[in-house]
């Protein structure tokens, strides 16, 4: 038996969309097999089929040499396939502990749930992941998306699986957590587990994978040992073209800041935050998951009231009571959690893109100009290369990356003075990402002020004029010019005291 898992000629279509066209895929025990491809290539669809969440139209799956029919997630779990899905699937009302164990509880001899042993097991697991575990009994909904993702990763590891699938586990994680994850993946690999790893961060692929399969338009475009390819080759196979990605931010500074934050505090999330942001500037915000960047941004956007501190915008002191007011003043905020805060999943693509600009499309008596609405949607679909069957398609049926593009489009279609981007390129493929970066840089060049929160260091380094680093709710460093190095930023992000943790460099 050479392969633990073998997929042969898998086909899958959704209505008119052919998502998979005869995909072959294999996985050995004790290897990390990376799966890459542009947004909508069919990666998630493939792993959903392997994990029993979807049924293929045609094709065979062999598991440990035997043909199997994985017709439910339960079946997949029973035979030893564990999955971390791209979209975090959580029970927000239930405790973290239950999120981990529901469906596969540890039981007492009486058949009751053995909370004690579950908690013990979860604790030791979290400890080995280097995660805090004081929140095991807290409702899952109170955790940030990043933490939720870590919990879901832990969940996949609870059971001794033979195959573990990670669908973009790191899209929302910082280098720090990513590093921990890699340590675990290597350990699992050495224990003989087969791992499928999907990511758009190609650097990661080169660090962790043994083999890589490139997909495009529902087909496999190539499969190589990792040593046999380079970045350029993969990008070319994925996107069908070569990429030029060079942006040099030189650091702009005006006379008057557009946004000036002074001593902003909202315990226990953040303390004494002060910074200036100038028109035309891209101000990067870096920090570990939970460092409070999102809270700062959302407070500026009027979602929370600060306890103390002042915000000056456009020369006036402001205190927005709601996002509506902030938007009217000229601030737009792209939220980090696209599923919960960004998308209207059951509405159409066109709707999702145009909803933020409807006020400008109104003709008379509140009647919307449908033609203009459609034009705006079409323009953004083209610009961001969103893969969708048509304008009326409901957003939930798009691939993860394309959903993210829709959220982005929604915020790029407004013309604010300040654009706050919270993890804007989460889950977006390399080619599109570089186009989006160009777009943002272009907007900044035209005078837009951008506050860009990202957990991806290369993105921060590449895009920002200046970088603000946060750690546990405080600003621990502002870097520009030659100071703006990975070393400095990471040191500030981990709280100065800790030296650079083993191998966290890029």
């Amino acid at each position: 038996m050479e392969y633990i898992l073998e997929c042969r000629k898998i086909f899958k279509s959704f209505g008119g969309v052919q998502a998979l066209r005869g995909v072959d895929f294999t996985l050995r025990s004790g290897e990390v097999h990376a799966l890459v491809g542009e947004n909508g290539a069919g990666k998630s669809t493939l792993i959903k089929i392997i994990s029993g969440a979807l049924l293929p139209d045609r094709g065979d799956i062999f598991y440990m040499g035997q043909p199997v029919r994985i017709d439910s997630p339960r079946k997949a779990q029973e035979i030893g396939i564990s999955t971390v899905y791209q979209e975090p699937l959580v029970y927000s009302e239930l405790s973290v502990l239950e999120n981990i164990f529901l469906g596969r509880e540890i039981r007492t001899p009486w058949g009751n749930i053995d909370w004690k042993r579950e908690e013990e097991q979860a604790r030791s697991l979290f400890a080995s992941l280097g995660l805090p575990h004081h929140f095991l009994r807290e409702p899952m909904g109170e955790l940030s998306v990043g933490l939720q993702q870590l919990v879901l990763i832990a969940k996949a590891l609870v059971y001794e699986a033979k195959v573990i699938i990670f669908d973009e586990p790191t899209a929302i994680l910082t280098e720090h957590e990513t590093e921990r994850l890699f340590t675990i993946i290597r350990k699992l690999r050495d224990q003989g587990v087969g791992i499928i790893y999907i990511s758009h961060r190609l650097e990661e692929i080169f660090r962790i994978a043994d083999r890589v399969t490139v997909m495009r338009d529902g087909e496999v475009r190539g499969e190589f040992p990792i040593t046999a390819v380079d970045r350029a080759k993969i990008v070319e196979l994925m996107a069908g073209k070569l990429l030029v990605e060079e942006i040099a931010r030189r650091g702009v500074k005006g006379d008057h800041p557009l946004l000036s934050v002074q001593g902003l505090t909202r315990r226990p999330r953040f303390f004494d935050i002060s910074f200036d942001l100038f028109p035309g500037e891209i101000l990067g915000f870096f920090g570990l998951v939970g460092s409070g960047r999102t809270d700062v941004a959302q407070t500026i956007f009027g979602l929370f009231r600060p306890e103390s501190g002042k915000v000056f915008f456009d020369g006036r002191e402001v205190s927005f009571g709601s996002p509506e007011e902030a938007m009217q003043a000229g601030i737009a905020y792209l939220p980090e959690d696209r599923k919960v805060q960004g998308l209207f999943p059951i509405q159409s693509v066109a709707y999702n893109i145009s909803v933020t600009v409807l006020r400008e499309l109104v003709r008379r008596l509140g009647i919307v100009d449908v033609r203009k609405e459609r034009d705006i949607a079409e323009k953004h679909i083209r610009e961001l290369n969103i893969k969708t069957p048509n304008l009326k398609t409901r957003v939930y049926s798009l691939s993860g990356g394309n959903q993210q593009k829709v959220v982005l489009a929604k915020w790029l279609s407004v013309t604010p003075k300040l654009l706050i981007l919270d993890e804007p390129t989460r889950g977006i493929d390399v080619a599109s990402k570089s186009e989006i970066h160009n777009l943002i840089a272009h907007l900044a060049d035209q005078g837009l002020a951008v506050m860009m929160i990202s957990s991806e260091l290369p993105e921060i380094l590449k895009m920002s004029d200046r970088v603000v680093v946060m750690h546990e709710g405080r600003i621990t460093g502002v870097f520009e010019g030659p100071e703006k190095t990975a070393e400095n930023i990471i040191r500030a992000a981990t709280g100065e005291r800790m030296a650079v943790a083993g191998g966290v460099g890029v």
């Binding site: 939220p335 919960v340 209207f344 709707y351 909803v355 933020t356 109104v362 509140g366 919307v368």
Partner: protein, 327 residues
């Protein structure tokens, strides 16, 4: 052919349309007296009052967040009583009384809306409480001292008051032609064409995302509950005029029927999904069924049961066909 079938199954409105036509044909062929101009126009009046409530329910359910209005029946009742008491016992000018009644409806709906959106109490609880409160108030204002401590209906209206509920224009009941159809058209504009409609669907399908998109979620919700109050009030006015009597028990049990029609019409109880066409067809189907079965002389008891069967059966059929098509 298969594509056409697929399309019908997928699109709830079309499916309901087919169902409607099928029922219509069956009744037209088999029930004497059904397929006459008189009957077809006459029966429309019976869909109006419940229909307005179903439309109200549609708006509220669309707004999501567990949106539901259990108080529509009670609002109808209390508005009927207000109009009745003002005209019949106080002797106020009918037009003024009606106006006051409609204002009262709007006010009560507004109150529901404010409680729902600014306190975060679930609509179910808010409107359950107002169901009790409005109903009780209706009984209290209906008390007629001439009959001891008992609530009594009011029925001494001037002839002009019956115009809405009992007159016809070209054979078509006035309330259908001059109130129901215009209301439907207005709501259609509101939902399909206006910015408010866009916002409503947004709030209903993802409240958080709506908030982040700069939509004033509270204002949208308050508006739909207020509209629900107004529609219920209209319904209360029409029914009072039609039956020539303002009764403190008239709207009892209407809320569940209204919700059912909205859901039958394809409005998702989770919010953000559903169209006015579906709900209007839902109303049409229920009205048709009652009329057809009664003319066919089917016993009331069986009518009740068959209504249940049709209700569940039609949705089930739709779902089963949908599921079969997916495989």
């Amino acid at each position: 052919m298969k594509r056409v079938l697929d399309y019908i199954v997928e699109n709830r409105v079309l499916f309901l349309l087919v169902l409607f036509v099928a029922l219509f044909v069956v009744f037209a062929v088999s029930v004497p007296g059904f397929f006459t101009f008189y009957n077809l126009t006459n029966m429309t009046q019976y869909g109006v009052e419940l229909g307005l409530l179903a439309l109200a329910e549609m708006l509220v359910i669309l707004s999501g967040g567990g949106g539901i209005d259990l108080s529509v029946g009670s609002m109808l009742t209390i508005v009927a009583m207000i109009i009745g008491v003002l005209i019949g016992r106080v002797g106020l000018n009918p037009s003024l009384s009606i106006l006051l009644g409609l204002f009262a409806g709007a006010g009560m709906g507004y109150l529901n809306g404010v409680l729902v959106s600014y306190t975060g109490i679930l609509p179910f609880i808010v409107t359950l409480a107002s169901l009790y409160i409005y109903k009780s108030l209706a009984l209290i204002i209906a008390v007629d001292p001439r009959f001891g401590p008992n609530p009594m209906p009011v029925s001494n209206f001037p002839e002009s008051f019956y115009f809405v509920g009992q007159y016809r224009i070209a054979g078509i009941p006035f309330q259908v032609l001059c109130i129901f159809i215009p209301v439907i058209l207005l709501l259609w504009l509101l939902l399909e064409k206006s910015i408010f409609g866009r916002y409503l669907y947004g709030v209903g399908s993802n409240e958080k995302a709506a908030l982040f998109s700069g939509i004033n979620v509270c204002r949208v919700r308050v508006t739909v509950y207020t509209l629900s109050g107004i529609l219920s009030a209209l319904s209360g006015w029409i029914i009072t005029s039609r039956i020539a009597s303002a009764r403190p028990d008239i709207g009892t049990g209407y809320e569940l029927q209204a919700i059912t029609i909205a859901v039958l019409g394809g409005v998702s109880i989770k919010g953000g999904e559903g169209s006015i066409g579906g709900v209007v067809l839902g109303i049409a189907i229920i009205t048709l069924l009652y009329n057809g079965m009664q003319l066919a002389g089917i016993h009331q008891i069986w009518q009740l049961g068959s209504l249940g069967v049709v209700l569940v059966g039609s949705v089930l059929l739709n779902q089963v066909l949908l599921a079969r098509r997916k495989i």
